[in-house]
Symmetry: C2
Subunit: 366 residues, 2 copies
């Protein structure tokens, strides 16, 4: 194999496939990326057995072939090369020479037959949305999933397609985040629980451009994301997701409107007095035109008043301030609406169109 | 005590004094800063018993007094406050109220009599240089000192004043870094070994402006740095420093001139194949117009050619690439000169005026 490509192209492609190279594994081949130049295009592939990424590299093939290289070492070599064309040439016994101007590296690659190829997915009936839409949906929900949980379903995001609507849901038992987008076409109903790690990584690969499309293909056990030069395949989490709609409610006794920046600064201040080890509730006292926020701990206390417009009844309710802050931080609106029923019921932060819904369970306070 | 100051002024002053608040200590009072508003100015002081910092805060005193506050908590409260005036008021039992607009924090301070004041230093006969000069001298030598060493002298920097010349020296047994600056006046000869931590922190406090002065006062056991609104006092390291001049030599058999950026990129590439655990030498082969750099390890090898202008004899010599890179990275010249005697003798990287001298010992290679 002998291929040549500009350093920056290699670096861009490596930056993408590195996202499916595990940081720790017992199978050393998973630390490698596959360079495949057996046909007309150069492709880099990585696969951590849960998700895999393949991307086309803009470069030229002088001699066809393929090789597996340690991803981290390969990335670092390319990163440190001069800004010029880089040539990668494989000799006998996987001896690989990477050269750029007067810099020459020799490393030893690995047998490509050990590398697990990506599963073959039949690409039909894609669901199409913009890369911007999918990236925003992920950013606005991913924080609500559980990091490590005995219940694997909680570590994934629930993706649901109903006619011309796509909905992404994350929940962890204390809160729910839902983001809904209207699509340009009507689709068959589909549902999938996608691992949180997959969603995190695809969120970083998506360009965030409104002109770029991403196509989603579903099988029973996999989802495939197809972007410009890159495809990503991920296993799905097996099981039946929670009945989210039954947890939601439009009933409320108190509705407030508040400036997002003001509320977010005040809640952020309260975080000083709460920690994983000593969770202190943030007590919100909703009045007619002011909401008081108060938190007390052995280290000290904070009180803050935020201007609001209120409809309905006055109320006092406690929350984990981190859950409130996580939700309001990702909202793009400058003015947000919060709905309360009573001090024992969850609050809902949502816009009128319900394009986003954040539900947070209250906590007891004294 | 009741004082008021703009948030940004408090933050700026806290950023300075935080540099002498230890991250770990057994004496809990050292985690505190002293707010002293007993006379006409507000002063913040911190003291980790090796170095101490005092800075004047631009604010107003409504009621005189003083208090000790946990530095980290105080800093975080101020950082999270709105962009407005902050009032700090102390009631009975060290109860402290910090308020800004509608945000009110209550924390408990500490008895100020526990706090160790800074040592009293007689401020006479200062050595004066610009903050830019001192900051650059530190940046260009500090990397050569030893981090943790049985020999405490190696963990400090040697500051030497000879007539109108100030010299700063760092060495760790494998290399020496020397930076020399000509002063505007002639001073009495002075010498001091200043702890590396002090030099690091003062380097971050110095503005780096050529118009701002810093005055240095020396006593037998202390050095005091006097800047605009801030003074820093540090203990000195006791002992006699090495005879640096005896380690230097102007003899050479080979002299090369090389573009700094080219050499530094090539040496940086070589670092991929060396680590703390497996130190591999970088072998430099100096020819008439090219220097070859080569490093080999079980992971692979690298070879690079750098254009040079050479005077004298051809030479092959090995170095720890990190030591070479550390030195050339801090040099501002685009073209650097390296002097070699033979493959067993140290190399010297220095300018014609010897305003900087970096000596690196060679290592064996096969």
């Amino acid at each position: 194999m002998k291929i040549t490509a500009p350093k920056q192209e290699l670096l861009k492609s490596l930056g993408i496939v590195m996202r499916a190279v595990p940081s720790r594994t017992t199978m050393s081949i998973l630390y490698c990326i596959l360079i495949d130049a057996t046909v007309d295009t150069i492709r880099f592939t990585s696969n951590d057995m849960e998700m895999g990424i393949e991307t086309v590299v803009n470069g030229s093939i002088e001699e066809r072939g393929l090789i597996c290289l340690d991803a981290k070492m390969f990335y670092e070599i390319i990163r440190k090369m001069p800004e010029s064309d880089v040539t990668i040439e494989v000799g006998s016994n996987y001896q690989t020479t990477i050269s750029c101007e007067k810099s020459v590296f020799h490393i030893v690659g690995k047998d490509t037959t050990e590398f697990s190829p990506l599963p073959s997915i039949d690409r039909k009936d894609p669901v199409i949305l913009t890369q911007f839409q999918l990236r925003e949906m992920i950013r606005q929900t991913i924080f609500s999933i559980s990091m490590n949980d005995a219940n694997k379903i909680l570590t994934g995001e629930f993706l649901q397609i109903r006619e011309n609507e796509i909905r992404l849901v994350g929940l962890d038992g204390h809160r729910i985040a839902i983001r809904r987008v209207i699509l340009d076409a009507v689709y068959e109903n589909r549902e999938a629980i996608i691992p949180g790690k997959t969603m995190n990584e695809i969120g970083k690969i998506l360009t965030g451009e409104t002109e770029d499309e991403v196509k989603l293909y579903f099988t029973k056990n996999h989802v495939l994301f197809e972007m410009n030069q890159t495809t990503m395949v991920s296993r799905l989490i097996e099981g039946t997701y929670f009945r989210v709609d039954q947890m939601l409610s439009n009933d409320f006794e108190t509705k407030i409107s508040v400036r997002k920046s003001e509320l977010s600064s005040a809640v952020d201040r309260a975080l000083l007095f709460t920690s994983e080890a000593d969770k202190r509730p943030l007590v919100m006292t909703v009045g007619t035109d002011t909401m008081n926020l108060r938190i007390t701990s052995p280290m000290g206390s904070m009180s803050d008043d935020v201007e609001i417009a209120m409809e309905g009844k006055e109320l006092k309710i406690g929350f984990n301030p981190k859950f409130i802050l996580d939700a309001i931080r990702v909202i793009d609106d400058e003015e947000i609406l919060i709905y309360f029923l009573n001090s024992k019921a969850p609050c809902f932060i949502r816009d009128e169109a319900q394009s986003y819904i954040y539900m947070v369970l209250p906590v007891n306070f004294v």
